[in-house]
Structures are given as structure tokens and as C-alpha cells.
Subunit: 586 residues, 2 copies
């Protein structure tokens, strides 16, 4: 037996007991006649003491030689500590060591195993197994487990059944790119890894399972943006005989349960906002409503003067920064430069200081009167002491720019509080979105989403105006889940494929099995999928998902620890009936 | 709202209430003036009644037109049933329907949606979503969910943390074949899908997570035998600072918990048997010990006469079939033919009837005296009334043949009882096994398994004799789990790779990251993995795993429902820098 207790377990009540502990040497303090060692494992740290009066001489000598991260096993007596450490649960006692055994020596780690480490990102990824020893990373993995368990507990209690759907499925030409898997037994043919189990969960509804969920890996071979992973985890859910309201209620319940059990937070309201309203008020379909700074549109009150920039703009829109009237010219210029960066792309920014004394100072004073500016302040809801920031131009990009500015300013002002949680349903999403590149409409959610009742006809006349039974759950400015009520009628599904540019043959080849299934009695159904990686991060009060993933890939889709992907040898390629395209590979 | 209650919910206590139900038309009985419909959903069946006195005339007319599997919604009153059905929980009442709405019509399903269906295997697979509507399949999926939840509950309570390891990893040339995944971003390079998360769970131990588990899909591109799937699910577990005994105790706990909560069965003992003993006593490393019929070796008591078959055999071995002395000549011949089938491969079989009157009748009476036969009976433990069946030849194949015979006879005698559970640890497995094809030793479990203490030297002199710290958990004649104590010393791991025929470069290229990890303080660790598909089937009292998988593949690795795998179009291949090998593909 390697241990009688773990390193987070020993207390004053154990005093006088003989214990055996195993763990890592976290820190050694060698005072010559006495050596203290912090012994660490997942559960905590216990102080070991070796001294010349009470420990065997060779054990003391051995202790002096121990390097950090050496794995040892000790046997000794729990004794009261001379100087207690109130910061750790084991801080009242230490273990007087009589026997010491080195279980495995350790070389000097490439970075320090401390809460704040000297290791950079790349190094920490290469030695991820060492990074996981650090409390901040370890705690995030334990936290993720706790969240996943609570998700399963809640949904199981609500009669949801977790069903494993297959990973080796069929490639679809739709949407983001599939990872494919060549089949050896079926030469020249390929499986695809699922981007989501969408069609399978719908088939489970046709199969009568009524309430399905699955915590499941999904795969997307896209160019990776920061904080996006080629493999990611979804909480995938589907229900039968439901309308949108049933789904919103059910997953409000789940979200409340998670906030309560994981964070001890009770959320009162889950407000709802249409997509159009979210775009108008926040420039964004996933607004952070923990703070105000809502958009105020100024076209009506700006276009009567000679300021061409505003007069020619499709949209003039601003926000009020609370207390921002005190900003210096330098601070304001910094924000102007911020919005002009290529990533944001604004051409310029107008500001109005609403001074405490009721006067205004703006960058367009030569065009507008104080009365004009007072009107603007009213339209935006700016109070004395606020700073109004205004962008103008084409509506779509300007809204995005102002939304980014709003978030950045709020971040700087500390308005995005990690321990505050403000959920929001965004509903009535457009069914289709226009794709400039292909000059055609694409399904905004996916091709199985149902249009709002009575809007099928609009599909012919004004496709962009059709709204869908689709909804996103937003938490603190992040989309944590999204879903829709599905089409369950085979005829409507065929029509939808036609509008999405599928030929009859393509639709049949790709989704024939689903349309077949709809022939045999499909119930009305709908669902939602949560991004677990992001949900866990948000619940943890963070927005970077990478540390909540045990072995993440870098921005090139590489696992730098195991060095994957990697070339195959020719024998393996031959077995798969594959050749590399010579001109493409160096 | 589609329903106020589900179809398994309405009871006598609801009498007089207005309810709304949705579900599938399971059965229609049309008596002209009255129509009864069984309305079905996942939760049960509720009887609907339409009659000319109490239902609107057009509703009664509509009900008469409903075909099986039509999805409907009804509104009506719960009333007492004239002839009650005590076999279903809703059997005391029926719903008098006032309103009826067809939610989705249904074509005639290709097989009947009944507990016993007229559909063959292929048809049921093609329309798996309809098969799942059938109780026996649906119940198996619900059962699987329950088992998985109990596994998670138990392990979480024992401080195990579920960690998701990556699916896009690196191909290893070892063992069974990897499925590979071409990378678009890293042209000419491939990921592999994990055959198991083995190295990752070991790295999590190096990372100090102490107790890990994961219910995880694994992939193996092998030629498929019956009841084997290219993707399968493991309960994968690993622990630090453990010896074999700690692991056996922990997973006895898990197994007891599952048998108790899932089946209401208390298992007293988890006997242990060495691999060598299991082979000797049962001819098999996963013996079913619910019944006796142990092997008796007869070389010593058969080789003094002129029966060449026995005299020249490396092994003469038999079993006693309880009560088998009553078998007719025809019955015995059937078993002789059974063992001579090519799948079993025996050349012949000798039998001895141990008659109730103390006499013997055998197929070798001209070689052996009754005293000889009495000796055999004693060696095998046959009693009066038993039938001894004896095979002979080379030890290895004969043991396999007799083991197959033992299982088949026990099956026929009803000794393999579905509601009886007999777990068994088989321990001390050989570290290596000889592979005839490659004429070299392979790791029997995997290359990370540690040899028994003090046996490293044997590796040089007698590799086949080295025993490993490896164990299997056997339940009712099926291996449900297997694992080992791992090597945690970098030097020993290098030596092991050398003995397994890896060059230093190969070992470094494939497992360099693991051996690197061992340099930085790896704790002693070990683990186990359970095959969830099989475990669930065995707990369900069955041995066929396919129905416990929602969407299984057939024996060619195909999903016949979605028709995967399938060819890719050339554009997709180009993007992946791949070409098909022209000579191999037709």
C-alpha cells in the first residue's frame, strides 16, 4: 500500500497517528539540522519534517537531496506544528518522517509548478502533463467534471436519456468542413466525423425516445480562430411534442440548476429579446446585459446640419460611457485609435462629453449646438458625467464596431463581473442568411430549422425576412447554447432543401434517410445544443476555453505534446488505397 | 402545448379530468359504433375511446381512418374502463376523445412495431429509427443510460474525475489498426482516432489527477467478427499510488454497485484465479463459473493401453455433463458432429456414460476396462448418471475446443442463467504472447504493462514465462474489463520497447512524449478499462451487444441506415491533398 491518507487529509485530530503518504516534493526548506518538505498531491499539501533529533540520520540526509517534483513515499507520525499555517486545511500539523522512499526521481521541470508559472503558452502545451499539476489548471478540470455531472444529474431526473450516437458517419457537403476517415474495408469510401449529431437526434425522436441528451465530441475542420478547437464538446439535447416555450422552460431549468449547484447563484429572470431587438439595442445577437450602455440611434437628430459624415451614413449610433466625461483627451484618442484598428475597422469616432455642470464638449462642436448635443444625450440616455461615443456608416458593420467598443469599454470599467450571471434568450432568428461569396441564402442555424408559422410563403418572395423558431441562450455576452424547433414534415423539409439550393438528387443522397424517416410518423420536435467548453469557462468566470480542456490543440490544429498530426508511412497509405497528391506536398 | 400527460401516466385518480395526449397510433379496433385506439409513446400506452354517443361524429369518423404509427394529438376526459387491463399501469382507465388532430401521417412501416416483429435484421438496421420504437430495443437504450449514470455516480463519489481526452491523436503502428483522419491544415499529415486513451490517461496520472475515468468511444479498424463494432465504448479508468490489490478492490466496488442498483443482486465473493489455472481448469481465460463441468486431465490414466489416439496426444482432457448418461446415441452423435465442425475443429470425441447402476459404457470399450473408466470418472469428478466427453490432441487447440463444448452444453442444459451473476478476477496474465505470423513476441495487454516484481531478468532468458501485473474481470464467461499496473520507470519502459522489437528511434517517435513525461516524476499507477457495450449486455442478461447500441454498424462496418461510408467527391479529395489509388478501386 502506498498511502494511508492523501496529502489533503491529515488534521489535528490525527495527531499521534502513524501515517503513510505519497506525493510530489513541492518545496524543500533545508535548515541544516531540520528539513521541511511540502508534499503535494491532487488533494492538497502536507508538511513533512525531518530533524536530526527525531528522524534517522540517513533519512534526514536523503531528504536534503530531494529535488522538486520527485515522487516519494514517507512513513511517520502526525505531530502538532510549531508555526501553524491557517491558509491550508492541513496547516495545524506536520508529519515527522521516519522512513522515506523515492518512488521516482524527477528532472528539473521546464517551468515552475506553481499557481503563477514562468512557463509560456507553447512550453506549457508541450508539457501539458506538468501544466495539469498546477492548481489553476487542475481545478479547471475538476470543475469541468462537476459541471458535466450536474448536467447529467439534472437531465436524467427530467427523463432525458443519454444515447451515444455514432462517430463514423457520412460526409455532408453543407456548412463547415467535415473531417473524413478513409475506410479500409470499403475501399475508396470514407466516413465523416460528426459536426454535430443533428440528424441522429432527430431520428431518435422519430424513434420515440422523447427526450434525448448526450455530452458528445463534435468535429469541425475549419481554419481555427483563436480559442476555437477542431474537436469540441456539446451538450446535445432534443425533445418531442414540444413548442419553443417548452424548450425554453426546460433549459432555463438546467441553467438555473447549474448556476445554483456550481456557483451558488440564484437567477431570477431569463429575459427574452428578439434577434432584431438585440441587434438594434446592442449591435450583437449575444449581448452582455450585465451592464447598460445600450445603443442610441441618432440619424433623426443629426442629419439637419452640415456634417457630411453623419448625413451620408446609413446609421449614426452611439453609447454612453458612465463617468466617461472625466476622460482625458489622451484616453479618448486611445479609444478612437482602438476602433480604427483593422480588426475593428471604424473610419473614425465622434465623442460628446456630458459635463457634470450641464455643458457639452464634443468633437463636432463646429457643426452642432449644445441643444443638438442635449438631444443626442437624451436619445442615448446619457447622464451628466457620461461620455457619448458615436460611430457612423453602413448599418451592419457599424453595429459590429460599436458592439466591440461597448464590450471593450465595459471590460475596462470592470462592468463585466466574473461572479455576476445574466442569462438572456435571443429568439426569432432569421431562417436564412445571405452569403456574399456564393451569392445565395444559407440556413442560419441548419437546414432542419422550421420557419415561424405562416411564413413558408415568404420564402418565395422575401427569403431574408423569414424568421425561424430558433433561439440562442446567451450568458454574459457569450452564446452558450442554441437550437430550434425542427421541421417534421417531409414535404416542408423538401421545400427547404430546394430553397437552400439542393437539387432533388443531392437532397436525396445526403438526407434521404431523414426524409424517409419523416414518412413513418415523425413527432413535432426541437432541441438545443450547448457548447460545453464555453459553458464551463463562463461558469468558471472566464472566457478562455483552452485551460478547461485537458489536452487542447493549438491554433494550427496541432497537439504539440504528442506531435500530431503526423505523416503516415507508405504501407499504411497503401492499405487505405490512398496516395498523397504529389504537387501539393513537399 | 402538445400534451398535459404522457401515455404512461394516466391512472384511476385522473378520472373526470380533461387531458391532452400526443403519441403514435399503436393499434385501432373499429367496432363501427365505437373505436378504440392504443396511443403509444416512450412511457407507455393509453387507451383512447371514440364512440357515437359521446364523441363528435366527425371525430369518430376521423378515428376510423387512422393508420398505424400516425402521430396524433387528442383532447378528452379520463373515464373508467369497462374491461380493465391489469397488465399495463394505465389499464384501469381510458380517454374519451372529443378532439383529434393528426400531427403527422405515417406510411405503413416496413415491419411491425411490436415486441416480436416480423422484420429481419437487415431491414431493422435500415430503419433503425423504427426499430427503436419497439419496446425491447427502447428498453435496452434506457437500460444503457441507467448503467452509465450509475458508473458515473459511483466513480465520482470515489473521487474519480472524468476527463475528456482527445479524439484526434497520433497513429501508432502497434497492435490493431488505427482509423486515420487526414488534416487539411497540415497537408499530407494525418491524425488517428484512439484505439483507447491509454497514453493520455497515463499522462493524467503524471499530471497528478490521481483518479481518472472516462466513458469514451474508441475505434479499431479491424476485420469485424460478429458482434464487434469499429467504434465501441469503454469505461476507461486509471489510479495513482496503487498496487494491483487497490485496483481490484475499487472495481469490485463498482461492479457490486452496478449489480445492486441495476439488478438488485448482491454478490458475495469475487474469486481470483491465475491465468494458468483458468486455462487448466476451464480451457479459457474468461471462464463462466456459474456452473461446474471443470476439466479433468486424463493423460496419466489413459496412456497405458493400445489406444493410439490418446497415447500420441499431448493432452487428453474431459468434462462431465451432469445427467448426460441418459443421452441417446443420436444426441451424443450430434455433439460429436458439433465439435468436428470447422469452427471448432476437433478430430473426434470419446464419450463415457457413467450409468446410474455403476456400470460404464464408452466409445472406447475395446481399449479400456471398466476399472480404467472408473479412474477417469474419478479424475474428472463425474458422478453416476453423468456423461464424460473427452477430447485429445495438442494442448492449446484441444483446450479451446473443450471450452467451447463446455459452454455449448451448459447453454443447452440451461446452466447459463441470465439472472445469476458470477464475477471472477483472472490475474497473473503472461506479459508477452508469441505471434506465429511475425515470429515475435507481442505485448498481451499493451506495451505499458509492468512485469511481476523480479521478473525483468526472465525477459532475456524466457520471455514467454514472464507474468504481468495484469488482470481481467470476468462476468458469466465474458471479459467485461481488463487492465494492469503500468510501468512508471522510463528505463524499464525503454527496455520493454526493445523487447517488443521497437528500435530506439521508433520508440522515441511513437512514445517519446510518454517517456519524456516519466522523466518528470511519474507516480506508480495502474488502471482498467471496461467494455461498456458488453457490460451493459451482460447486466441485461444477454450476450449480443448490437441491440444495446443505438445505431450499430453491420459486419462490413457499414451503417446501412445512412449508407456510410461513401465516396467523396474530387473537390473534397483535392482539399485534403489525397488521391485514390487507382488500381485498387473499381
Amino acid at each position: 500500500m502506498y498511502r494511508t491518507h492523501n496529502c489533503g487529509e491529515v488534521r489535528a485530530s490525527h495527531q499521534g497517528q502513524e501515517v503513510q503518504l505519497s506525493g510530489w516534493v513541492h518545496k524543500v526548506r533545508d535548515k541544516g539540522f531540520v528539513v521541511w518538505i511540502d508534499l503535494r498531491d491532487r488533494y492538497g499539501i502536507t508538511q513533512l519534517v525531518f530533524d536530526q533529533d527525531r528522524s534517522p540520520a540517513e533519512v534526514l540526509e536523503q531528504a536534503k537531496q530531494l529535488g522538486r517534483e520527485t515522487v516519494i513515499q514517507v512513513h511517520g507520525e502526525v505531530i502538532e506544528r510549531a508555526s501553524k499555517n491557517p491558509n491550508i486545511p492541513t496547516g495545524e500539523v506536520e508529519v515527522l518522517v521516519r522512513e522515506l522512499k523515492v518512488l521516482n526521481p524527477a528532472e528539473l521541470p521546464p517551468f515552475t509548478i506553481e499557481d503563477v508559472t514562468d512557463g509560456g503558452d507553447e512550453l506549457r502545451m508541450k508539457y501539458r502533463y506538468l501544466d495539469i499539476r498546477r492548481n489553476p489548471v487542475k481545478e479547471k478540470l475538476l470543475f469541468r467534471h462537476k459541471v458535466a455531472m450536474e448536467v447529467r444529474n439534472y437531465l436524467s431526473a427530467e427523463d432525458f436519456v443519454e444515447v451515444e450516437t455514432p462517430y463514423l458517419i457520412k460526409s455532408t457537403p453543407e456548412g463547415a468542413r467535415d473531417f473524413v476517415v478513409p475506410s479500409r474495408m470499403n475501399a475508396g469510401q470514407f466516413y465523416a466525423l460528426p459536426q454535430s449529431p443533428q440528424t441522429f437526434k432527430q431520428l431518435l425522436m422519430v424513434g420515440g425516445l422523447d427526450k434525448y441528451f448526450q455530452i458528445v465530441k463534435c468535429f469541425r475542420d475549419e481554419d481555427l480562430r483563436a480559442d476555437r478547437q477542431p474537436e469540441f464538446t456539446q451538450i446535445d439535447c432534443e425533445m418531442s411534442f414540444v413548442e419553443q416555450e417548452d424548450i425554453l422552460q426546460t433549459f432555463e431549468g438546467l441553467t438555473r440548476h447549474l448556476l445554483r449547484t456550481i456557483r451558488g447563484v440564484e437567477v431570477e429572470a431569463f429575459p427574452r429579446m428578439t434577434y432584431d431587438e438585440a441587434i438594434k439595442r446592442y449591435g450583437n445577437d449575444k449581448p452582455d446585459i450585465r451592464f447598460g450602455m445600450e445603443f442610441g440611434e441618432l440619424n433623426a437628430v443629426t442629419q439637419h446640419k452640415d456634417f457630411k459624415v453623419f448625413n451620408e451614413a446609413e446609421l449614426v449610433v452611439g453609447i454612453a460611457v458612465p463617468g466617461g466625461a472625466q476622460y482625458t483627451r489622451k484616453q479618448i484618442d486611445a479609444w478612437i485609435n482602438w476602433v480604427k484598428r483593422p480588426q475593428i475597422g471604424a473610419k473614425g469616432m465622434v465623442y460628446v462629453k456630458c459635463n457634470e455642470d450641464g455643458t457639452y464638449k464634443s468633437s463636432v462642436d463646429k457643426f452642432y449646438t449644445p441643444e443638438d448635443l442635449a438631444q443626442w444625450a437624451e436619445a442615448i440616455g446619457a447622464k451628466a458625467g457620461d461620455l457619448i461615443l458615436i460611430l457612423s456608416g453602413d448599418a451592419m458593420p457599424v453595429r459590429g464596431q460599436l458592439s466591440a467598443l461597448r464590450m471593450a469599454v465595459a471590460e475596462e470599467l470592470g462592468l463585466r463581473k466574473a461572479d455576476e450571471f445574466a442569462p438572456l434568450w435571443v429568439i426569432d432568428f432569421p431562417l436564412l442568411e445571405w452569403d456574399e461569396e456564393s451569392e445565395s441564402y444559407h440556413a442560419m442555424h441548419h437546414p432542419f430549422t422550421s420557419p415561424k408559422p405562416g411564413q413558408m410563403e415568404l420564402l418565395e418572395t422575401d427569403p431574408g425576412a423569414v424568421r425561424a423558431n430558433a433561439y440562442d441562450l446567451v450568458l454574459n455576452g457569450n452564446e452558450i447554447g442554441g437550437g430550434s424547433i425542427r421541421i417534421h414534415d417531409q414535404g416542408i423539409q423538401s421545400t427547404m432543401f430546394k430553397h437552400l439550393g439542393f437539387s432533388k438528387e443531392e437532397a436525396e443522397a445526403q438526407f434521404g434517410f431523414l426524409m424517409d424517416a419523416f414518412r413513418y410518423g415523425a413527432p413535432p420536435h426541437g432541441g438545443i445544443a450547448f457548447g460545453l467548453d464555453r459553458l464551463v469557462a463562463i461558469l468558471g468566470g472566464q472566457e478562455i476555453i483552452r485551460d478547461y480542456i485537458a489536452f487542447p490543440k493549438n491554433n494550427s490544429g496541432r497537439d504539440v505534446m504528442i506531435d500530431a498530426p503526423a505523416p503516415l508511412d507508405n504501407a499504411q497509405l497503401d492499405e487505405l488505397n490512398l496516395k498523397l497528391n504529389p504537387q501539393e506536398v513537399d
